[in-house]
């Protein structure tokens, strides 16, 4: 193919679009910030608008290239969650190119794709509010909720619940990126009584909490989830104490993966670990000999049997309903 220069020009346009969409919502930690997959979908819409292709196949190729470019950029940036991004892009592709089966004229098709794509992106943006609406009823007055990691969906849900109910939160500190500690500040400012605990204290507190509420980086085909490391242990602990585990996730996070065990996940970059003894006043860093292997997978896989319900923009689903939805979405 001859288009060396136009291709790279197009690629940089896509990335520019993506970055612009991402920074739309100010600070990344803010609950109103745009999620990465939604920003990617908007960028792909830009591709459709600018496209000079005359056939469906041509347009699909352009979209695939653009998605791949976005995914590569994401892994270059060192961001963790590739699953939701990949699944969001693929779903967008499927959703918009299904139009081709209905309309035969390409120009009409393209207009319809644009319209559908915008609708899909809009749905995804509104997903958080819908999830908050369907899910906040599962939190009742006087309950203690345990959560893990920072998730904007969970934040939206908890804030909505806090409008009408009094409850308190336990948050795991979330090593190594202290996500929990950062989230605690946010919730505390919003007026919810929050306690931050050590990751290893999840067993200790489990008897006092009423339910566990977590987000997901990706929802896999059998209804399990991929999330920040520690989620698997948390859900096993909750199951052992008969506490419900609720997952809040948008439907574009439904991925066509079927992991059989932890090793079956797509490979991710290991994150560096630092060991600090905080019981000592000096807070000295405990150094580790180079021969000692320090393995830090950033995410783990929680099987469906440990999850009670999923709050999604398609409604409240049981884990087995995820596959049914996926079959319908990818048909």
């Amino acid at each position: 193919m001859v288009e060396g220069a136009p291709a790279t020009a197009e690629k940089s346009l896509v990335l520019a679009d993506l970055k612009e969409n991402l920074t739309h919502g100010t600070v990344l930690n803010d609950k109103n910030a745009v999620a990465m997959p939604v920003a990617a979908m908007n960028a792909l819409l830009g591709v459709v608008q600018r496209s000079s292709a005359n056939t469906m196949m041509g347009l699909q190729d352009e979209l695939k290239e653009a998605s791949q470019e976005i995914l590569d950029w994401n892994s270059r940036e060192g961001n963790r969650s590739n699953i939701a991004l990949a699944s969001g892009c693929e779903l967008f592709l499927r959703y918009s190119t299904r139009t081709f089966l209905e309309l035969t004229d390409f120009k009409e098709c393209r207009a319809a794709i644009l319209e559908r794509g915008q609708r899909f992106a809009g749905i995804s943006l509104a997903a958080r509010d819908k999830i908050a609406r369907v899910g906040h009823g599962f939190i009742r007055d006087g309950q203690i909720i345990l959560t893990h990691g920072w998730s904007r969906v969970v934040a939206a849900l908890l804030l909505k619940a806090a409008e009408t109910k009094h409850f308190s939160l336990y948050i795991l500190e979330g090593r190594p990126d202290a996500a929990g500690a950062k989230a605690a500040e946010f919730y505390s400012k919003a007026g919810i009584p929050t306690t931050v605990i050590l990751d290893s204290a999840m067993g200790y507190v489990m008897e006092s909490v009423d339910s566990v509420l977590i987000g997901a980086e990706g929802v896999v085909e059998n209804g399990g989830i991929v999330n920040k490391i520690g989620t698997y242990a948390l859900s096993i602990c909750a199951r052992a104490h008969d506490k419900p585990v609720y997952v809040a996730a948008e439907s574009y996070k439904f991925a066509r993966l079927y992991p059989l065990n932890q090793k079956d996940l797509p490979p991710t970059k290991s994150v560096a670990l630092k060991f600090i003894d905080t019981t000592q006043d000096t807070n000295a860093v405990v150094s580790v000999l180079p021969e000692i292997k320090v393995d830090q997978p950033p995410g783990d896989y929680t099987p469906a049997k440990f999850i009670t319900l999923l709050f999604t923009d398609l409604g409240v689903l049981t884990p087995s309903a995820v596959s049914d939805e996926l079959i319908r979405l990818y048909q």
């Binding site: 085909e221 059998n222 209804g223 066509r256 079927y258 059989l260 065990n261 090793k263 079956d264 469906a304 087995s320 596959s323 049914d324 079959i327 319908r328 048909q331």
Partner: protein, 483 residues
Amino acid sequence: GRERLEQKAFHLCSLKKIWGRPSFDIMEGSNTDKISGGDAQKKAKKEKPANFVIPPKKPKLSKAERRALQEQQRAAKAQRQGQPTDKSSGKTQGKQQNTTSPVSNKNQEQNKTSAAPTQRSEVLAVNADGTKDPKQISVLAHLPPFRDPKDKPDELLGVQLKSSNIREQLHPEILQTGRAYATGIICHSNPRCRAMLKAMDAAIQDCVPDDSINDIKDFRHTWVNKVLKPSFQFFTEDCRPHSVGMGNAFTFLKSAIGALDRDMELPKAKALLSESIDAYLQERIDYADLAIAKHACEKIVDDDVILTFGHSEAVRAVLVEAAKAKQFRVIVCDARPLLTGKDMLLDLRQASLNCTYIYLNALSFVMKDVTKVFLGAEALMSDGSVLGLLGTACVALASQSVPVLVCSETYKISNRIQLESITNNEIGNPSHVLEGPLGDNLRVMSLTYDLTPASFVSGIITEMGILPPTSVAVLSMEMDPQQ
């Protein structure tokens, strides 16, 4: 009036005693009075017509006498139905066993304490000559009994030209295939389905329009009703009960014929039908196995130890395909009486795979090394349970610490749900389990299939991808929307 009430109550009481429910005393009439409404009954009595004849009161029998009378009536009925005609012997025998054994069974057991305490034999099936069959097992009484092909050799071979009985006009290929089914030469879901479709194709190709039938001019109707349905009935009733895959394929065949144009010329219609049959076999079985292999290969990694049970075309396709790119070893588990694992072992060795061969009793010994389990299926139920050859459920149960993947083509999806292995099964050859003459007190239970509950299965690999067992129903709706 009172007599009818008495009779009803007696019937109910005896039924309740048989099924072990606590019996409450209806004879006093209190409950039924309340149910029907005391006033209404009194009104009914008053409005009796003038010529209403009240039959003489029957003598009140004691419990033992009533039981004896019932047993007498049952024996008489059994005697009457125990002399069937030659052709329908199998059918009535089957029906006879179904209707009389469960009830007479339990009754007899209660009778024996009062009647003949020395005789422990249960009243069971009745043979053609009226003698009772002591070899049948009560819990399997609802299943058609095993038909040994050696018993009635001419039934499977007889063809009579110009016979009025449609069953005697079967195509020789149908007869041949049927015989192969009955003697076990063709077994397992995929080969049986292929053989059935090929035989029916041959039968249709040779079908000549019968001008003597003056009413129906629709060749499709003739094909389905005069050729296909009798053949299928022959397979199922005289040779061997059909598998789920065969049933689905037969439904497809009927709809394929229905889709033909009524006014099409016969040679063209036959060619078209033949093409459809070949396409079905190719797409739903051969290509499906290739697609299953492609999906499953992603789940096999180097240094895996894969356990499999018996012979399955889909699993074989998976392992042979994966062997091209990955290094792993296979443990083939096998079980009597069919020992289908031997064929699997040969096939895998031809693909140069590193194999171990064990019997089912060595399973717990090797389980610590196993990393994944791949099982074949005879049918998939709508709730995700898997019907497999006897022993599959055992392997799935023992492997709960590792992923258990079931490989099955979608044409085997049934729209039934089965709760356990006994409601719908096939009684196999008893001599496979235990040879030689058995004493009066020894019976042999030989089953063919067992059911693996959906919760034991980690995932089902079909040509559409890997899905959780709970999604089988959705998949069957997507694949065959007209069913």
